[in-house]
């Protein structure tokens, strides 16, 4: 049964559309991450689920109940804020029980829940402390604890890791993943960090300009991005794009040419001669070689060495740049002309409107 379902949700402020006809269905126990560039509407969507922002149109159901007109506290949600939003003048225990007082949870039950959550989050030692005496990571755990004791249908996380330093972010990420495994609860999690999205999510919702671009499992988004936006957003460094055109069709196979790569042969029923296309290849899928399903040449301008890999920035024939990942100690030298190839499953083709063209390359 769908635990959270969103139908035709719209949000406008005056003339600006923040969310445009968003439809999403989230299963019980699912960990869904909303990801996208800043201003894409992901936080607004989360706040609308929480009931903190109003909708201009559409419906939200939580656990089968229409919650459009319900106050946040009546929706069966709990939210973890980016700034943690801990009450600064209450100790950890009070922070966690404060809300329960008003929702009719008896004192003994409150105590049980706090003890349970504190044990789960290793907060037992900190219960009498005040937020100002806690480290960033501890505050984060208290904020999560405050959400857990409410025993909500749905947990909402608003960029919870963005105020932590890099090392803590990784360990807290692991902790949140463990927590989800333990609680088996439904989580909607907003982030702009695609690594968080990829590592945490059962399913990722990629958003852009108030619309959902694609919903899918992390690896599906990586290997089969539905459009140019998702292709460019998921993966780092971003996918290389090459302008292309269908030069001829022979026996269901299209011959695709472009200024910056060697002619490519793909099978695609829907194409016709003269169609403008975009061919995409990820930097990590380009390897040095003579000829492959996809072949492109470039002059090395710059090499970034990261250790486990290096990134070569190459100037294409048409003057634009593209990036290739190079493994090992031998990196090409600036000025060197390099030929790079990619295998056919790693070549993505998008039509003029940016949508993925289902293809079989050879």
């Amino acid at each position: 049964m769908a635990n959270l379902s969103i139908e035709h949700l719209n949000k406008r402020y005056g003339a600006t559309t923040v969310l445009n006809d968003v439809n999403l269905s989230i299963e019980d126990g699912e960990f869904v991450v909303l990801v996208g560039p800043s201003g894409c509407g992901k936080s607004t969507l989360l706040r609308m689920i929480a009931g903190l922002d109003g909708a201009s149109g559409g419906d939200i159901h939580i656990a089968g109940k229409l919650v459009n007109t319900l106050a946040p506290a009546e929706r069966g949600i709990a939210m973890v804020f980016q700034s943690y939003a801990l009450y600064p003048h209450m100790n950890v225990r009070k922070n966690m029980t404060f809300g329960l007082k008003f929702t009719g949870v008896p004192p003994t039950e409150r105590e049980r829940r706090v003890t349970e959550a504190a044990r789960m989050l290793r907060l037992e030692e900190l219960l009498e402390r005040y937020p100002r005496d806690l480290s960033g990571g501890q505050r984060q755990r208290v904020a999560i604890g405050r959400a857990i004791v409410r025993e909500p249908e749905v947990f909402l996380f608003d960029e919870p890791l963005s105020n932590l330093d890099a090392a803590l972010r990784v360990s807290t990420r692991v902790e949140i993943a463990n927590l989800h495994r333990l609680l088996k609860s439904t989580i909607v999690y907003v982030t702009h960090d695609q690594v968080e999205a990829m590592t945490l999510a059962d399913r990722i919702v990629v958003m852009n300009k108030g619309c959902i671009e694609q919903v899918g499992k992390p690896l599906d988004l990586y290997y089969e991005p539905a459009n140019l936006f998702v292709a460019g957003f998921i993966g780092s460094p971003a996918m290389n794009f090459f302008e292309a055109e269908v030069e001829g069709i022979e026996g269901g196979r299209a011959r695709v040419t472009g200024a910056a790569f060697r002619t490519l042969d793909i099978s695609a029923a829907s194409l016709k001669v003269g169609d403008r296309l975009t061919v995409g290849v990820r930097p990590e899928h380009l390897v040095r070689g003579e000829a492959g399903a996809f072949t492109a040449e470039g002059i090395v301008e710059l090499v970034e060495r990261l250790g486990e890999a290096s990134f070569a920035y190459l100037r294409r024939v048409d003057g634009k740049m593209f990036v290739a990942e190079v493994r090992g100690r031998q990196t090409p030298a600036p000025g060197e002309t390099v030929t790079l190839v990619a295998a056919s499953p790693d070549v993505h083709v998008f039509d003029a409107s940016g949508l993925r063209v289902a293809t079989e390359t050879r």
Binding site: G39, T44, R47, G51, L52, D53, G54
Partner: protein, 316 residues
Amino acid sequence: MAEPVSHVTAQMPRAKLAGLLLFFLGPAVVIYTLFSIYPLVATMALSTYTSDTSGARSFVGLANFQTLLGDALWSKPFWNALGNNLIFFVVHMCVQNPVGIALAGLLSLPGVRLKGFYRTVMFLPTMLSVVIVGFSWNLILSPLWGVASGALKAVGLGSLFAPWLGLESSALVTLSLISVWQFVGIPMMLIYAALLNIPEELIDAARVDGLGQFRIFFHIKLPLVLPTISLVSVLTFVANFNAFDLIYSVKGALAGPNFATDILGTFFYRTFFGNQLQLGNPTMGAAVATVMFFIILLGLCLYLFLVQRRIRRYAF
């Protein structure tokens, strides 16, 4: 991105919102309206009435104002008080603000020690009651005590001493300076705060450009705190045209000698409550208060529409 007001409160049922507003705003709005706005309006209304010896009131339109501005018995003291009040204000503007700016400028210089101490000491007179300040200076300047004349003699200027507060020619300016002495802390503090808000990097940049502290102050800091200076000026204006306590405590309601220190506040008090020379007249008092209100309003409008609009506020 987020709405200025929470959606939760925006979509509250009307009855609930009304209840909350009543609860939160009710006490403040009721007390404020009843004891601040209503009296102002009622006073203005009263200024269009007159009362006869039996206490019965009758509507006379603008007759009170005609009397106030046209009848020599009223208009002479009125214009005298207004003129004196202007002098009072001009002295404040010419002495209090420059001194306040200079002190704030000195305090904000980099590397000056004991800033907190100086600030605390210089602000002290501002905290005291005007009555106390006025009376203390009255004693100090009194020829009876001889402190002021003694101090002048000590620096060889003994011949300059005069009973300033008692002389018709110097009483008003002396009182103005006493008031300046007391309130110079306010411009100093506000301008000091504004100076602190100027990013240090900006000053560093000017130093790298080769400007000395003096030039930095006049070419960089001063233009940036201009909005605060104009705010201080309008605060001073309102306070000056509403002043009363100092003159009353040093010179009494008659604002002597020979009304030389009479300002609108004391004129209003005399008109309203009366004194040895005349009976109190509430309706004429209301008329004086109304005129004072419009003078203050005029000042505020000049500030809002002429000064504030032209002054650019800089964002750092």
